[in-house]
């Protein structure tokens, strides 16, 4: 693909924020979008939710990301044109392509793939060198070790090596926990940085049985924070792991550990860092998800900036949140290595004078891959990737996952589950990771694994009553649309195949889902039993891994069934800017 540097330069509007000042758009004449004006005395580089994507990717941002209640119409619940308008991004620009789904296919041909760790390495080293020694630190917000076939067979070990070469000094986790405690600890023994989690504690039973913990007195399993000297000042970085690991994933992976948001423990820790350790700034490296972070920022005092992840929201500007102690900035830095957050701080004794933030799209065509990282990636991939390079299908349409209710990737998975496992209905989890594949470009097993590679991939077929199916949909829907973000888990709606329904996101749990109908148009009956196929169950299952089911279906030459639309009729959210017009 030709590098159209002029397209990038003309279109680029890298957003920068100075507290209290309007957005600063870069001029078209800028030599490079990666030349960032020097500011302050400390720089924090933030990666999050890369999902182990070693090479540059296509990833379409959502067309449906609805906010309800206080979250309606505010970032991150803006998509497409509403997003562009809110952040002042030109519709046909490279940034419009990076941050939104607007004209995705057309722009994909123009601007190419984003991310890739060799490209990230080049960019990160450059941004570090720009500020000089002892002024920069690189942190990762988690979901670094999962998302590809390679990461799955290596149980995240590939990403530990990559993290070490990249120079990640602190990280927290989410999917990292789904390899289980033993693998997690083994990987961390090889990790040169620190794994931080203020909100993971031993269960009472595990504490009683003297299970290993960072701090036996508090029961904290991991170190909660580090203090990093930057530009002659002391910056505390606190880790906040995904609060709902044992609920969103099988409990058997983390039987000894209890999670949660742990607001009170966090407040005590912040107070101790400020009072006893006399730090000049406090940063929360969070895997809460953006809505949770926005609420937390309004309640916990003493945090300067929350560097957020989990919900995969690429938000170009920080959101300012007032609380009893002052103001906290909340960011979210997208996913799949598409973006690098750059936080520049002007630190003073005991305080932060001013802050600038850039969320840089990592345009792989503008960055020369770092040779050492490219070598390491080649070496890591060499062992497995030839097994997965066979072309097994060519999609006849754009394949993507990310949207609140449905996407072609999951339509395909549901079709495969129903066909191969002979079920009336299929359910597939609403993950937010998984790549985008362009129409007409061959799919390999490696691509299939990038949509499905988890440590509990077993499929199942079970009988469920209509009432049970409705309960599952209601339960998951409340994880998205509960008006209190602390009750949200941050994934998207469970995908349904062979089943259509209406959804009223603004209603309360139990009253959101209605008009459930089978593929043949018949209404679902509450008491009748239906054969339901699925995968990623929190209960142990015995069926074939979902990637084999999907691979078999694709190899048989079938693609998508007739387009049925999403199968979901939305009610009561007309005009919500979280829905692309």
């Amino acid at each position: 693909m030709a590098i159209r540097r002029r397209d990038f330069l003309k279109g680029s509007a890298v957003a920068a924020v100075s507290l209290g000042l309007p957005r600063l758009a870069r001029s078209a004449e800028a030599a490079s979008i990666y030349d960032i004006e020097r500011f302050g005395n400390a720089r924090i580089l933030h990666l999050t939710d890369t999902h182990a994507q070693l090479n540059p990717v296509y990833f379409r941002e959502p067309g449906v990301n609805i906010g309800i209640g206080e979250m309606a119409g505010r970032p991150p619940h803006l998509v497409a044109r509403a997003f562009l308008e809110r952040f002042g991004i030109r519709p046909d620009s490279a940034d419009a392509y990076a941050f939104t789904c607007v004209e995705f296919e057309k722009s994909a041909a123009r601007f190419g793939r984003l991310g890739g760790f060799a490209h990230l390495k080049t960019l990160i080293d450059r941004l570090r060198n720009d500020v000089g020694e002892k002024r920069a630190v690189l942190v990762d917000g988690g979901d670094l070790w999962q998302g590809t076939g390679l990461a799955n067979v290596m149980q995240g070990r590939d990403m530990v090596e990559v993290a070490n070469l990249l120079g990640i000094e602190a990280m927290t986790g989410h999917w990292e926990f789904t390899y289980g405690e033993e693998v997690l600890r083994e990987n961390l023994a090889h990790f040169k940085g620190e794994f931080l989690a203020q909100n993971v504690f031993l269960t009472e039973e595990a504490a009683f049985n003297d299970a290993p913990a960072f701090d036996k007195a508090t029961g904290r399993v991991f170190k909660p924070s580090i203090i990093k000297e930057l530009g002659g000042h002391r910056v505390a970085i606190i880790g906040q792991a995904f609060p709902y690991v044992p609920i969103a994933h099988p409990k058997r992976f983390t039987p000894n550990w209890s999670f949660g948001i742990r607001e009170e423990e966090l407040q005590k820790h912040v107070d101790a860092l400020r009072g006893n350790d006399k730090v000049d700034a406090v940063i929360l490296l969070s895997h809460n998800g953006m809505d949770v972070d926005l609420k937390l920022a309004s309640r916990v005092t003493g945090i300067n900036v929350i560097l957020g992840g989990h919900t995969h929201d690429a938000v170009p500007q920080p959101i300012l949140v007032k609380n009893a102690g002052g103001t906290t900035l909340v960011t979210n830095a997208g996913s799949n290595g598409k973006f690098l957050g750059v936080l520049d701080l002007a630190l003073d004794k005991g305080k932060v004078g001013d802050i600038r933030y850039h969320l840089l799209p990592v345009y792989s065509e503008l960055l020369k891959p770092d040779p050492a990282m490219a070598d390491l990636i080649g070496k890591l991939r060499a062992q497995h990737v030839t097994d997965w390079s066979e072309k097994i299908a060519t999609p006849d349409r754009l394949l993507y996952r990310r949207d609140n209710f449905a996407g072609p990737v999951d339509e395909l998975i549901c079709a495969a589950l129903r066909t191969e496992l002979n079920a009336e209905i299929a359910l597939s989890p609403g993950f937010r990771w998984g790549l985008t594949a362009l129409s007409g470009q061959p799919l390999t097993m490696e691509d299939v694994l990038a949509e499905t590679a988890i440590s509990y991939p077993e499929t199942y077929v079970q009988e469920m009553t209509g009432a049970q199916i409705k309960d599952v949909l209601e339960d998951v829907c409340d994880n998205l649309f509960n008006t209190d973000p602390y009750y949200q888990q941050g994934g998207d709606m469970v995908r349904a195949g062979g089943l259509s329904y209406a959804c009223s996101p603004s209603n309360a749990i139990g009253n959101r889902i209605s008009e459930l109908k089978l593929a043949n148009g018949k209404s679902l009956s509450a008491n009748r039993h239906y054969k339901v196929a699925g995968w990623a169950s929190v209960n142990a299952q015995q069926g074939a891994p979902v990637w084999d089911v999907l691979g078999k279906y694709l190899r048989s030459g079938r693609m998508m069934p007739e387009r049925l639309g999403t199968g979901v009729t939305l009610k009561g959210v007309d005009g919500n800017p979280g829905i692309a017009g």
Partner: protein, 161 residues
């Protein structure tokens, strides 16, 4: 102070993790000796009530007002509905009892503690919850009732992104 485990140890709630405990003071309560004598008994009627309102009425004979001086700590989403850890602390003076109610459990009253004079009003417990509902803590202080409530979500789990 003595501890009485309720007279129905086979109740499913007790067996499966919701420790139903009544801590009963040994009298000598300065403000109402007659009442204290009556309260020495296991509050059988209150534990039998289905609804939260009926259970509160049976236990205390009056209603509670919400108070920010009652601090109820419970998870937003339960990691295990069978064992939900909760605790209550309060800055109220003259606390004489603390009780927990789970609005939509088969029997709403889960536990009631008598707090003898001079005891710190701090109580922790574990509740069994079948489904998402409000947990209510009531603190009896100086003859009045004060409450705090929190919704605890009990979910089928899974499907996290």
């Amino acid at each position: 102070m003595t501890t009485h485990i309720g007279p129905h140890p086979t109740r499913r709630l007790i067996l499966q993790g919701a420790v139903t405990v009544a801590l009963i003071g040994l009298g000598n309560l300065p403000y109402a000796p007659a009442r204290a004598a009556a309260n020495d008994k296991y509050p059988e009627e209150a534990f039998k009530q289905k609804s939260e309102a009926d259970a509160i009425k049976a236990l205390y004979g009056k209603t509670a007002e919400p108070s920010d001086k009652v601090k109820l700590d419970a998870p937003e989403i339960a990691e295990n509905g069978a064992v939900v850890p909760i605790s209550v602390t309060t800055t109220l003076d003259k606390v004489t009892s603390i009780s927990f109610f789970v609005a939509e459990n088969p029997n709403a009253l889960a536990a009631s503690y008598k707090i003898p004079d001079g005891t710190m009003p701090v109580v922790a417990n574990r509740l069994k919850m079948a489904k998402t509902t409000n947990v209510v803590a009531i603190v009896e202080a100086d003859g009045k009732l004060f409450s705090a409530a929190k919704e605890v979500k009990v979910t089928v789990g899974g499907c996290g992104g």
